[in-house]
């Protein structure tokens, strides 16, 4: 049933184009202390940031690749062949007209300014290492919401930035968070003042345009007491012949009673190693919710987490992974309960097509001294072909007597009878397959914002069209 042509080539049409590079700043190939000084010089880092980077670099070198538990495919990453910083300048434009033409064309093809007009409260667009455009709607800015690039955040808002930066995800959390901490560039810094409810989502769009390149954005979002925010990110890259590395660190802080929702639709091309560390802290009565869709990339390793630090805090991860031929989506969630009456919910759905592989890794931790904590985990896998693969590795530690946990897992297959039934009603095999897959993720997708559920449905359809024949 699997076509020889990779389904991903079809699916990726939307992002599969590149313009010639016009970078004025290039840190060159490979990573040494010199590379880090180069980045720090260009970005005019404060001393503490330069120091932070250099320390992180040492941590990065000292940590082994996690191949004792993770895919050996990680060994295909050659750190010496990667370019760690590329940009045409460090100042993002506030007006779309001021963005350089080739970059503008790139994002226009991806529909970015159009979406901004339609339904977003603000947009940041990152092209390789730096944000090229950053804009927040006036009304939102007037409420005191800060939405800038990470470089501007650390320079202009150090009193907030320094307090939280690297605190949710310490440098040494893992090898790739250390790498990010050493060479980070771009990403968003957002602060929402107490009580401010940002009605429309803020969005960042990450685009890799250059070959052999590593994108290492760093995002820090702080929702102050009682505030609310939805943040969305999208990612694409053209399909190059060499591996590209995307290794982000995203830290979220939801202070007392705040609600923070972070949505990702990852559609990297099939040569991108997507190794991302994402974690949020939820204080008393606060809620951190991750909606995570992984469609592209060669290997994704990503386990968004929530540390429920205050009483009645809530954590949630809703994720969908689509693993086509040659793809491995190694995704999951981490829920660390650290206060009484905290609740967490994980719903993960994966679809493996052709020789694709989807892995779920989940960690749920509820220590003995806590009371009335609850976790619910559901993970469902759908296998399309006989060659498709899925694995589930749940690690659940629940101690004490007053806590409860519920775990459900299922693996199902689209049956030949099901497809025949739908074909008998006039649907092509691909349409039938895509309808089944959409049905499988439907209850989850319904919880997504409209614009993203439509986009996701379309991507699944494109993927399925290419996967049968």
């Amino acid at each position: 049933m699997v076509k020889e042509v990779s389904p991903l080539e079809i699916e990726r049409n939307v992002g599969n184009f590149a313009y010639p590079e016009t970078h004025t700043h290039d840190a060159g190939v490979g990573l040494t202390e010199k590379t880090i000084h180069y980045i720090s010089d260009i970005k005019d880092d404060p001393d503490w940031v330069r120091e932070f980077r250099l320390n992180a670099y040492k941590t990065f070198l000292s940590k082994p690749m996690p191949t004792h538990w993770a895919s050996r495919d990680l060994e295909a990453i050659v750190f010496d062949n990667i370019r760690y910083y590329l940009s045409a300048g460090t100042q993002p434009k506030r007006n779309w007209e001021d963005v350089p033409d080739d970059v503008k064309r790139t994002f226009e093809r991806l529909g970015i300014p159009e979406q901004e007009r339609k339904f977003l409260a603000g947009v940041e667009a990152q092209f390789d290492s730096e944000a090229v455009y950053s804009n927040i709607k006036k009304a939102v800015g007037e409420q005191g919401v800060i939405f800038v690039g990470s470089a501007e955040g650390l320079k202009n808002h150090p009193e907030i930035f320094r307090k939280w930066f690297g605190k949710v995800i310490p440098t040494g959390d893992n090898k790739f968070s250390a790498l990010n901490s050493a060479v980070f560039s771009g990403g968003s810094f957002i602060y929402v003042p107490p009580g401010v409810k940002v009605k429309h989502p803020l969005q960042a769009y990450f685009r890799i345009n250059a070959e052999n390149f590593g994108q290492f954005e760093r995002t820090l979002i702080i929702c102050d007491e009682g505030s609310e925010l939805t943040y969305m990110e999208g990612c694409t890259a053209p399909k190059f012949n060499t591996a590209t590395l995307h290794s982000a660190v995203v830290e979220l802080v939801a202070l007392k009673g705040a609600k923070l929702q972070y949505i990702t639709v990852q559609n990297w091309s099939a040569n991108v190693f997507n190794l991302v560390t994402k974690r949020g802290i939820a204080h008393e009565d606060a809620e951190v919710k991750w909606i995570d869709c992984n469609i592209g990339s060669r290997l994704t390793m990503k386990y968004p987490g929530v540390i429920m630090k205050g009483r009645r805090a809530r954590g949630e991860v809703l994720s969908i992974a689509l693993a086509g031929d040659g793809q491995h989506q190694d995704t999951g969630a981490k829920m660390v309960h650290a206060a009484d009456e905290t609740t967490s919910n994980i719903i993960s759905k994966s679809i493996s097509i052709g020789k694709g592989r989807a892995t779920y890794r989940g960690l749920v931790h509820i220590p003995k001294h806590l009371k009335n904590c609850k976790n619910n985990t559901e993970c469902d896998a759908l296998l399309i072909n006989a060659t498709s693969r899925t694995d589930t590795y749940p690690a659940i530690t629940v101690r004490g007597t007053g806590n409860s946990v519920q775990h459900e897992a299922s693996v199902s297959q689209v049956s030949a009878e099901q497809i025949f039934y739908m074909q008998q009603r006039g649907l092509t095999e691909a349409q039938a397959m895509s309808l089944s897959v959409n049905g499988f993720v439907n209850d989850l997708v319904r919880q997504f914002p409209m614009e993203y559920s439509v986009e996701l449905k379309r991507l699944i359809e494109l993927e399925m069209e290419g996967s049968v024949g």
Binding site: E417, Q418, Q424
Partner: protein
Amino acid sequence: MNKLSISNLRVVIGEQEIIRGLSLAVPKGEVHAIMGPNGSGKSTLAKVLAGHPDYKVTSGEVLMDGEDILALAPDERARKGLFLAFQYPSEIPGVTIANFLRAAVQARLPEGEELEATDYYARLYEKMDLLEMDRSFTSRSVNEGFSGGEKKRNEILQLAMLEPKYAVLDETDSGLDIDALKVVSHGVNSMRGPDRGILVITHYQRLLDYIVPDHVHVMVQGRIVRSGGKELALELEEKGYESYEVKGEVGEPALA
């Protein structure tokens, strides 16, 4: 030309021959019934007509309005106007009846033409009323958690919405109580007309009290062994199939 015509059809699954030289013609405007004992190959015939990939046609032909359909994919046959009401309809979790039927209706429109949602729902509700189905049905997943009767009603709802040229109903009466049988039969009868041929496959005569056929065929061991008018069904009900079953001629038992 205006008929579904099967001639000298032979079908195997694996090594086993199940249809053994079957000929039958269902003209538009007529309702034909195939009756036969379990294992006579009735359901196989239904699936072969629809193009099920597990069965292999070794000889013979099936013409729909003169066009050979055996080389066509199941969905092409369906779009050309062939409908099969399944004996055991599949469940499609997460896909609502409204969305499923909408996709099926849309698949029949010319490229680039979009189905008008309000017209679609108006028609859907009209057909559901005919089959005494509650409106809440539209938002349920296709066949998921349905009772036997609900599944059959759903098959006839699809038949009514898709308006095929030829409809094959495979054991549509199985699993139905008498009230449901009446409703389903009413739905099928409303589909009778000069532009449509209907082939009803059943084990029992009961269904034919409600869907009265123009012709009845007896199928035994992969062949039509006798054809007649509607009174043949009554005779079968009385005497059973035993007299048609030739013992010893065929070594292996046939599958349903």
